[in-house]
Symmetry: C2
Subunit: 283 residues, 2 copies
Amino acid sequence: MIGCLAIVGVGLLGGSVAKAARAQGLAHEIVGIGRDVGRLHAALKDGTLDRVTTAIGDGVKDADLIVLGTPVGVIERQLPEVWQAAAPSAVITDVGSTKAAIVAAAHRLATKRPLTFVGSHPMAGSEQSGYGVARADLFRGATVIVTPTDTSEPRAVKTVTAFWESLGAGRVVMLDPETHDRAVAAISHLPHLVACALVDAVERFDPAAFDVAARGFKDTTRIAAGDVDMWEAIFLANRTAVIHATAAAQAALAELVRLVERGDRDGLRAALTRIKARRERLP
Amino acid sequence: MIGCLAIVGVGLLGGSVAKAARAQGLAHEIVGIGRDVGRLHAALKDGTLDRVTTAIGDGVKDADLIVLGTPVGVIERQLPEVWQAAAPSAVITDVGSTKAAIVAAAHRLATKRPLTFVGSHPMAGSEQSGYGVARADLFRGATVIVTPTDTSEPRAVKTVTAFWESLGAGRVVMLDPETHDRAVAAISHLPHLVACALVDAVERFDPAAFDVAARGFKDTTRIAAGDVDMWEAIFLANRTAVIHATAAAQAALAELVRLVERGDRDGLRAALTRIKARRERLP
């Protein structure tokens, strides 16, 4: 049971954390911090939040657990203010889709004032954004990656892990921040960039074809409708891993189309068989 | 009402045509033709088919409507035998995912014996295959592309269109065979090749990342688990359009990753905004 839970950024993820914590009765008080008090009002009115403020310092100062739910680039910018205001015993975590830069920023701040930060990345979301689509069951069954480092207090790692499990996570996986960033470049950031490229390719190659697009195309490109601010920040924050993962995709696509070009039936069949088997092994 | 409906190839698509026709009471008799009578037995036993045979000639000779439901490459090879055995008044259609080669083959046969062929492509399917996953409602609400040519009899085009509407199609779209092949290269064959490349890219770049793959990755790569025989045949049958569509995707992906590489925040935001808007305009 948390005394005071403070959530900075009450959009899809932050709002869902608040709703899930409320539904599970995890905190005595839930405070929401955002730029626009008008937008926070909905969460106050529906009973998800107990208190709202636009001032980070005021919002986090009494919190036992602080969750940073703003976009990746913003989390890094807000961290110094959170650090300054937080209570000595507070545990700080976030929901950002990249971890190395955020964890490094927290590490730098901790050399001046020892506070506890453990990065998190719940692998849940939607192509929609904002508090309007936040759901108490967003994390139900989801994988959450927690990224402790050598200097992380085991007690704080346990607190953050238990928090996600209480919100409904199906599995909490520990990865170091760099391993995390590389993994999500592969299975999240690259697919997003590729889905965008697919939509753009149809626009360039045969825009009339959009009219006959069926379920396959819609599934494959659904994520291309994701929030622009969030994805722009993610791509730039995880630039190196995204570039390398994209190079792997370009090589894989070039190899497949070369088999088609050559009419290499056996080679194409072997590649498709191998890839299908790999895809079917996914949990 | 059709007197005799013959279906060559009783897998996912052919089987679903049979089941839907049976459910709607569209034909007095439904005949199934396949290589292996043992496999056809299930459809006979569950009442979907009235008669089964491994001999194409025997199966199609009394049919008023013949539906070719085998993979793309096989349809072309079977067409001469179907042509020889079919009754003069029969209407022949197919469910192949590429149309130019099949329609051209039918056109060549028609110069020797005038018979009526109108190509079809129901935009419905599954990453699974075989009669076991056939469903009476597979075409419910689906788009079906019908590909008449200058020489197609309007009466036959009407018969085929009405047939798909009776099976539940939400919309029947007319395209000439070449326009069809270009459009499906863009919105079906390219996404399939790209989904395969994505799975392969993760395998090359960071295979451990498969373990944390979430809904976005699964949606984007679901089609990579499609039937190998079917997709190999499709890629090779539609080789030219697939190569050109892939080149468009490679250019689009290269442009996006260049913006990431340069850290061009404004350029990346503009591209993602444009692509998101385009994706959201999909019906």
